[in-house]
Structure formats: C-alpha cells, structure tokens
Symmetry: C2
Subunit: 231 residues, 2 copies
Amino acid sequence: MKKIAIIGTGTVGQTFASKFISLGYEVMIGTRDVSEKLASTAKDGYGGPPFSEWHAQYKDVKLGNFAEAAAFGEIVLNATQGANSINALKLAEAKNLNGKIIIDVANPLDFSKGMPPCLMPELSNTNSLGEEIQRVFPDAKVVKALNTMWCGIMVNPNMIGGGDHTAFVCGNDADAKTRVKSLMNEFGWKNGNILDLGDISSARGTEAVLPVWVRIWGARQNGAFNFKIVG
Amino acid sequence: MKKIAIIGTGTVGQTFASKFISLGYEVMIGTRDVSEKLASTAKDGYGGPPFSEWHAQYKDVKLGNFAEAAAFGEIVLNATQGANSINALKLAEAKNLNGKIIIDVANPLDFSKGMPPCLMPELSNTNSLGEEIQRVFPDAKVVKALNTMWCGIMVNPNMIGGGDHTAFVCGNDADAKTRVKSLMNEFGWKNGNILDLGDISSARGTEAVLPVWVRIWGARQNGAFNFKIVG
C-alpha cells in the first residue's frame, strides 16, 4: 500500500506529506477547496508561510478536496485541528473511508478559553477524538498514534535522544495497529519504543497528555522533546 | 523544619510517613477518628492490610485527627484521595494550614464511571485539585508535586532507571517550591530531573497525566514506571 491521503494542510500535514514522499509513497493532501487554498497568501496559524509556498517545494504532493484525497488514499491520516476533524472527515465521506485505516494524530485542543489550551469538554475525560472518529465511521479502522509530541519528532524520532523515547498506539483492530507500527518503523521508531495501550478508548489517555505537554513546552520554550517510559 | 503532617492513612500516606521517619523527621498522620481507624480490621481500598497492622511496625509515627496533625506539622502533605481532599483539609482547619507549605500529591480521580478512572469534571481541564486547594486555603502555599507516579517511586526514585526520570513541581510561591525540591533531593531526586512547570495552574497538566498513567499501567500490569522528558 503506497498511497497516503493526508487530511489537513497545516504544519502537521505538511510534515507527514514530505516525509511520506521521501519514503517513496504517493501522497494526496485533502483540503476544503484546493484553488482557494493555493490562492491564499495568509500565513498559517503559527505564523508559517502560506501553504502555496510550501507546496511549491513539494510539487509531487497531489492536492484534492477532502473526498478526492480520501478516495485516493489506501491509508488516511487525520492531521486537521481536533475541533475540525469530524467535519473534515464527514466531507471526506464515509464511502471513501470504509475499510481503511485512519491514523489519527490530532488532538481536541480548545483555544477558546485562552492559552495554554485546554481540551474540548465533549471530546475528553470520558470521551476522546479518536473514539469519536471511530463512532462516526464505524467501518473505518481508527488508530490513534503519535499525537503526544511535536510533529517533527513524529516522523523523525532520531532527532532527539537517539530515538529512545516512547510512542503510543491505540485502536480496536490489531492488524491496523500492526500496519501503523510498520509505518512508524519506516520513520525510525523502534518496536521497543512503541507501546500499544489497547483499544481506541485509550485515546482518552494519550490525548490527555496535551495539557501537560503545553506546560512543559511553556517551561522549556522548546517543543523538541518527548516522553520516555522508564521502569 | 523537621515536623511533617501527613493527611491520609492510605498507602500513599504510609509510604511518605515511613520515608520521613527514616530520614529523621517527626511525623504525625492525620485521620478523621484515630481510635476508629486503629480499631478497624478492614483491608484498605487496594486489598492491603488494615492501618493498625502497618502502624504496629511504625510506632514512631504519631497519630492525630486532621486538625491535630496539621497543627503539629511545619509542612503538611496531602495524601488523601482527591475526591476527599478538600473536606479533609477543611477538617484540618485553615488556622492550622495558614503560612505553611501544603505538598499536594493527590489526584482528583473519579471511580464512579468504572475502571480505569477518569478525572473529576469539576477538578480537571479548566481547574485542578491543586488550584482548588490553593483557592480554599489562600494563605497556605500549595506545591503540587510527585503526583504523576506510583508512591513507591515518589520517595525512592532510584528504584527505577538509576533515578534518571522526571518529577514536576507547580506552585505560586518560589520559596515553597525550593523547599519541596530540597525534600525531594532527600528522597533521591536530582535537581536536573525536577522540572518546575510554573504556577499552581500547571497542576491542570500534571493531574491530566493520570488518564494515560492508568492506561500504561493497564498495558504493562506494573506500576513501577515513570516518565522521563527526553530532548
């Protein structure tokens, strides 16, 4: 399977797209409206260059609307902001997602109550974004993975600590988790550093890492870190 | 300052009490009703022996009601279950807490919705137990610390990984945090492994570690682990 759909055009989506291209995959990024996205000269939400500038350097990355990208991908990666994920995936359409692995790297951050963000109340504590996606798309295989760190480390664990730190995976389908772990191996993750936490309800745990992540980021003023389980 | 009050008679309180005794401190454990607690033959909530059996081995540990213990202690450690912490500290009385450091190692776990526990909605996400204690006792100096790991490791970090893993502290009073770090040094924590996350609102982050902690515990079936920040 060498065709990847990435839902979301932000830094996370760009990071995965360029990594998958470097690994020899075909990639299509899905966005609401391709021509509008390419025409926009607005900086991204974090002050980065507009999407068109990034894409000019990665012309091998195909672009489509959400449904076109999902139809193209053999695996679909959700790299939208958590507050928008369900709507974006609905626009991608269940018929284009059914039977496929959805790798969910997003977090249900709520920026409406000031910084640092909290979690969206309806998607935390007794629920999670990963579970909600699985509930809305019961015929897809949702694997929550890699959402507990900055995206640069998601696709390049060897950037810090010799790659010796921990990534979590959660999901209801064992084969889907095995496939995602294999992709993570291609990024440089060693199996001994990938911890399977069980079914998709474990996303309640991994998404709850974000409130401490943002505090650690605040204390260090540097997001290039990850958690290692010692013991 | 060599007098420590420990509020709570469970495994966490016992663990701190015996550690402080071994370090030469005077310790009083506070409980609602001393004679009732000593008369009880019920196992503790995790199936451990009744409190009286533990205390028979640690007769140097003084016992008092919540207010007597708080009045005795120069530093007060909250080792109650998070759901009971505010009530227990109210019984300890503000006049016995004012001006003192309250080390809060508790977590606002909600066991009412099944296992694994979630967090108490009113004490999580946009609030925390640490903040709530500081709000109810504005003249105490609350330091949230050590709540992200099993109690055996709190007082003995060298039990795993050569002690090279991370403990967080949060609180509004810099001197109080310095004092708590010094106590942690006595337990074996190296300063390079203690990360100050800022004011007491950062307890929203460290208490949110519990939802992933319980999932990791479930996957490993072993609580003797901790998180290390790598990067």
